[in-house]
């Protein structure tokens, strides 16, 4: 008698499991595994656009912040599952090039791109897609409520009035955080830059994992000022958040979202198709929807809510220097600021 019911329960459980299996998606051999640091909400759109012209290829995104992706790729080395690295900082790709992980490849039509965006070697190891540029996101409503003046420069951020009101990304995990630190060091030299960061540290509420989170926190007023990048601030403003995107007067750091093929990739053919697609004019038009500076000349139109003079304030960025010194800079940063564990009072 009981065994009947056992059978029934058993079969219904099995039913649930089978239903679950059908619901989950199963990885196929033809999937293109793409390691990326691009903002997650943009990825679905890129995949759709690419898959529309290449219906036989399905993109599988592996996404994390720049620092994490870089560390992951360095650790995985030649055993990485990635077929292509796409939308990662050029500084990081330089490190990976040195580690011998990248497969040089000249995508069809790469010669049409601005030379500054492409690796100097021929064929190039990496190709830049678009620049992302540091900015400060300020919540105008909260700034008013708390009587905070709108900061105009990096130096402003160290004023005592902002104590506990600023968030910035941790440069060890976030690419945006790293390009900030790297730009300060390049603009002002080691001594002045570290002194600035010491002062800034006193005003920081929390350091975040990702580069977009400071701006999102500023948008909600959780912390009124977020050191982030321009796209995020403009996007939040477009969504109705009281966010003003400020380009500091001293100049702003930036890096190139770039792609590179991986040596010994399982799906090299599909990776090349994706690379070819990534340098087309059409794709650059998509890049421009969010970012003001893209690799294909003549495509870029001004992006709404971007600081007007932003591209003029981009510093002369030495990627080679940044890549070479990355490890040292991060170690120094962690020593100074990461281990300070007591939370700062407001």
């Amino acid at each position: 008698m009981t065994t009947q019911y056992l059978g029934k329960i058993g079969s219904s459980v099995l039913g649930v499991v089978l239903a679950g299996m059908c619901l989950g998606n199963v990885a196929k051999a033809g999937d293109l595994i793409v390691y990326t640091a691009v903002e997650p909400e943009e990825l679905t759109g890129f995949a759709k656009a690419f898959e529309a012209t290449n219906p036989d290829i399905k993109i599988k995104w592996v996404r994390d912040s720049t620092g994490i992706m870089t560390a992951k790729l360095l650790a995985e080395g030649k055993n990485t599952r990635a077929d292509i690295i796409w939308g990662l900082a050029a500084t990081s790709l330089l490190l990976l090039k040195d580690a011998g992980i990248l497969e040089p490849y000249a995508p069809k039509g790469v010669e049409k791109l601005d030379k500054l965006f492409v690796d100097g070697d021929s064929p190039p190891s990496w190709v830049g897609q678009r620049a992302w540029i540091a900015s400060i996101c300020v919540n105008t409503v909260e700034a008013k409520a708390k009587n905070l003046p709108i900061p105009k420069s990096w130096a402003d951020l160290t004023k005592p009035v902002y104590k506990g009101h600023i968030v910035m990304p941790n440069p060890a995990s976030s690419g945006t955080g790293f390009l900030d630190v790297s730009s300060w060091l390049q603009m002002w030299g080691e001594e002045k830059a570290w002194k600035f960061m010491d002062d800034l540290h006193k005003n920081i509420g929390v350091y975040t994992h990702s580069g977009s989170k400071p701006c999102k926190m500023a948008g909600k007023g959780e912390f009124p000022i977020g050191v982030s990048f321009a796209y995020k601030g403009a996007q939040l403003k477009a969504k109705g958040a009281p966010v003003l995107t400020v380009a500091p007067t001293e100049g702003v750091g930036w890096d190139l979202e770039s792609f590179a093929l991986v040596k010994g990739a399982k799906n090299a053919a599909a990776a090349k198709k994706f690379a070819d697609w990534s340098v087309t004019r059409e794709t650059n038009v998509i890049y421009n929807q969010a970012y003001a500076v893209v690799a294909y000349p003549g495509v870029a139109k001004p992006v709404k809510f971007f600081p007007a003079d932003l591209s003029k304030k981009m510093i002369k960025n030495d990627f080679l220097w940044a890549a070479k010194n990355r490890k040292r800079i991060l170690a120094e940063w962690k020593k100074r600021y990461d281990s300070k564990s007591l939370p700062k009072k407001k």
């Binding site: 997650p40 055993n79 281990s339």
Partner: protein, 576 residues
């Protein structure tokens, strides 16, 4: 405690083993094969990965042996060592506060005549249904810089130890309460009668009868509270700010810097307090059993207006806290743009818009949890059956039982880390499982093995040994008796264990965060990732989906069990 009734003389020596194996019947072969394969499974899925972790801690990045150099580096890094102090402080304080709160709550449920006891008990299980990231996210909405009731903090920040502690108290409350309730239920009313007759006042009775009677339970609850707090990673990850603890250090070392050797070292440091608590707990549990006398009379509280009202008020407040945290997460997931646009929307549940894995991570979780429940319960039942009801192979059986106790002492983060080291090595034939759903299921079963094993063992212990003797003399093979007698009788427990595995598999982050792949990303990990990029509303929404799934599973389970017991277990009523 295993009920291994194997006479010493039957334990085979090396010479007689061959002979014995030759004399084995089919039935014994099946049993031997069963026990051996279960032992092999736990060795491969627990012991060997832990060994890989140990050896990784004494290797450098390239895999060369470096002795204790990594430990030296660890202990010379001020920041990392400070985390030990931070972790101990947080775990210690949380333990004390959670135990006091849970004790009073449990006292209300077991020792008072206040109304709604069952409701309070049910409400107290809320936190089990949610990933530990949920209370942390809710606390930001409640007590963050834009928090609804941030005035309660008097200018202190929620990002740090305060936030971690409040979040942890929410998260561990049901676990601590369960033990407290058991401790306070198993008392002997005769002691109270004697104390009253001897003229002791209520305060004196409380300190000389109540507390000593429950002391082992209290210690056990404290140990659980401490271990859960020190090993959890979800709460400090979200709300810890710059306050580093061991659990977040492991994550930072491994995920953030891919410094696996240092991750292994921190993992071992975290393993120590967990192992230590485990030993204390085992010790205490043994004593507790000896304390209970067979002639004990159940205690029935008498009404006492002031006490009952005070306890009722406390339980109401505590329940409000639990409901409040959950309610805040629900609210956060529905508000259009906190705190400027408070209109309600379901837009944040459109996960595909903010994350390429979107809803698929939820389906992955559903799949993973179902597999874990079904495969897990079969394995765990067989394991417990062999330990409790098996015949012969005494050493193997008690060996397996000891293996089955080990997962309790291994924090999820450490287990997950050990899995990376063991399964990612190309020379390991088991590495084909790496980055598959299978490894997530197996890891989760191992992670939650001990509690399930013990629960199953208790159920099997209650079944009279006569069944085996009778079926043996009737020459019915053990597996037939098992399927016809033990499985049906244990059905309520079997479904309990399935439920436990399902809900834990839905909510867990710690072990799986190291071993998921792009195809097998889970819902709870999505919560973590979405919070990391600042999509807090979407993170709350995904956490709520997990809660809703757990609740649905619980309700379904309750309904099925109710109709089942009503129709098929009439005999249970008479035996009790």
């Amino acid at each position: 405690m295993t009920a291994l009734d194997q006479p010493r003389s039957l334990i085979p020596g090396p010479l007689s083993t061959l002979q014995r194996i030759r004399n084995l019947g089919t039935e014994s072969w099946i049993m031997l094969a069963g026990i051996v394969s279960l032992c092999a499974a736990l060795l491969a899925l627990l012991v060997m990965p832990l060994y890989s972790l140990l050896s990784k801690a004494v290797e450098d990045d390239k895999g060369a042996f470096v002795g204790l150099a990594n430990f030296q580096e660890y202990f010379s890094s001020a920041g990392l060592v400070q985390s030990i102090g931070n972790s101990l402080t947080i775990a210690g304080l949380t333990m004390v506060i959670a135990c006091v709160l849970a004790f009073i709550f449990a006292y209300g449920i077991t020792r008072s005549c206040m109304p709604f006891k069952r409701t309070f008990r049910a409400l107290a299980t809320i936190p089990i249904l949610a990933p530990s990231l949920l209370p942390a996210i809710s606390l930001i909405y409640l007590l963050g810089n834009q928090g609804m009731i941030k005035g309660l903090l008097f200018g202190e920040t929620i990002y740090g130890p305060i936030g971690i502690m409040i979040g942890m108290i929410f998260y561990i409350f049901p676990h601590v309460l369960m033990i407290m309730v058991t401790a306070l239920s198993t008392t002997d009313a005769r002691l109270y009668e004697a104390a009253e007759v001897l003229g002791a006042g209520p305060v004196r009775i409380f300190f000389t009868v109540t507390i000593p009677g429950a002391i082992y339970g209290i210690v056990s609850a404290a140990v659980i509270a401490f271990t859960l707090t020190i090993t959890d990673f979800g709460v400090p990850k979200v709300i810890g700010g710059q306050y580093n603890v061991l659990a977040t250090d492991i994550y930072k070392q491994v995920i953030g810097q891919q410094n696996f050797s240092m991750g292994a070292v921190v993992g071992l440091v975290l393993l120590l307090p967990a192992m230590f608590s485990f030993v204390i707990d085992r010790h205490v549990k043994k004593k507790q059993v000896a304390l209970l006398s067979a002639r004990a009379v159940p205690y029935h509280p008498k009404p006492h207006k002031v006490r009952d009202r005070a306890l009722l008020a406390f339980c109401v407040l505590m329940s409000l806290f639990l409901i409040g945290i959950l309610g805040t997460a629900a609210f956060a997931s529905l508000v259009t743009f906190w705190p400027y646009d408070l209109s309600l929307t379901l837009a944040h549940y459109d996960f595909d818009a903010v994350d390429p894995n979107g809803w698929s991570s939820f389906y992955n979780s559903l799949k993973m949890a179902s597999f874990t429940a079904v495969v897990g319960v079969v394995v765990i039942f067989l394991g417990a059956y062999f330990v409790e009801k098996g015949r012969g192979f005494g050493r193997l059986r008690s060996g397996f039982h000891m293996l089955a106790m080990l997962p309790m002492a291994v924090p999820g983060l450490v287990l997950g880390l050990a899995y990376i080291f063991f399964f990612s090595r190309p020379e390991n034939p088991l590495s084909v499982m790496y980055s598959t759903m299978t490894i997530l299921v197996l890891c989760t079963i191992v992670h939650f093995y001990t509690v399930s094993h013990l629960t199953m063992l208790t159920a099997l212990k209650q079944i009279d040994k006569e069944f085996e003797s009778v079926s043996a003399s009737l020459k019915v093979p053990f597996y037939k008796t098992m399927l016809r007698v033990h499985v049906p009788i244990c059905l309520p427990t079997i479904s309990e264990v399935m439920m436990y595995l399902f809900v834990n598999a839905m909510t867990t982050v710690s072990a799986v965060v190291f071993i998921y792949s792009p195809d097998t990303k889970l819902a709870a990990i999505s919560v973590l990732n979405m919070d990391d990029v600042g999509d807090t509303a979407e993170a709350s929404a995904m956490a709520m989906i997990i809660v809703l799934t757990s609740v649905t599973a619980k309700l379904l389970h309750g309904l099925i069990m109710k109709s089942f017991t009503a129709r098929h277990s009439a005999w249970r009523q008479r035996t009790g």
